[in-house]
């Protein structure tokens, strides 16, 4: 039954949906330089909107996110590096604003834990393998004697 729907209606709906995407886009900032624009997009996607917390600055429609995007834009235009901008944000809002956490003394144990766990795993595995090979060796000798 839907097949009988006129083609113009289907096209109309498609175009309307596409327009929705454009109209509802949160961030329409355009920087003059494509390289700056690329950095702007990476940064705004990597910084958290503090009000909505699970959205990035780029995706959040709230006022504060717009203010912080403006800040990112202005600092990029002023020639700041990505690291400088991230540090500027973290100095005000804490590391929580960074979706990709930085290494610090406070979270060193968290970064180091996988390596420590891997080391423990390797030691345990090595000991198990050594014990089993020892058992195998023990098994073989009496077998040889009995069988021989």
């Amino acid at each position: 039954m839907s097949r009988r729907g006129p083609a113009c209606l289907r096209w109309g709906v498609t175009v309307a949906l596409w327009l929705c995407g454009l109209v509802w886009a949160v961030d329409t900032t355009q920087l003059p330089d494509p390289a700056l624009q690329a950095r702007y997009e990476v940064l705004t996607h990597e910084l958290r909107c503090m009000q909505c917390q699970n959205e990035s600055l780029a995706d959040s429609p709230v006022d504060l996110a717009a203010d912080l995007r403006r800040e990112v834009r202005d600092q990029l235009l002023a020639g700041k590096s990505d690291a400088q901008i991230r540090a500027w944000m973290a100095a005000r809002y804490g590391d929580f604003i960074l979706f990709r956490p930085r290494f610090s003394l406070r979270n060193a144990w968290l970064w180091g834990a996988p390596a420590v766990l891997l080391l423990v795993g390797v030691i345990v595995a090595w000991r198990v393998v050594r014990e089993r090979t020892a058992l195998l060796a023990d098994d073989h000798e009496p077998l040889d004697e009995d069988g021989g």
Binding site: M50, D63, L64, R92, D95, F96
Partner: protein
Amino acid sequence: MNRFLLPLGIFLLLVVVLAIGIKHSPDKGTIASPLLGKPAPQFALPSLADPSRQVRSQDLKGRWYLFNVWGTWCGECRAEHATLLQVSRAGVLPVIGLDWKDSDEEARAWLSQLGNPYQAVAVDRNGRTAIDWGVYGAPETFLVNPQGVVVYKHIGAVTLATWTHEILPRVTAPATGS
């Protein structure tokens, strides 16, 4: 025996670590400010009462003050207003307001209607100063010591309990430093 002791030990260690984590985890939704123990951000903004004058952070050095971020668009700010009036009446320290992204007329109407707890209100129309203070929602309140260091931050409406248990003890304690 050793075969069971080791996993049990690891399990108990895990329980202890997780218990510490749960006990010390901050309230959901509140984020510790990196500003604590650091100098309060500098600002010089037009005064709400008289836009030709400025409210400047450097003029506040040398004494305790409460820095309260509010706006007439903020519902919780209305809820905390009575408490701020009481705090102001207590006369222990001045309350400095930051009117965040607000209309001056509405802010003045709000203060004449509900009473004015602020010694001065700085107008932050574009929100830059609020960002410097790491504000992400109103109301937020900071306690700044005479050395100009932020010693406490409260997110959400200040209540009398906040005042008596968190703010007042810090102000009256002799020479706590930061």
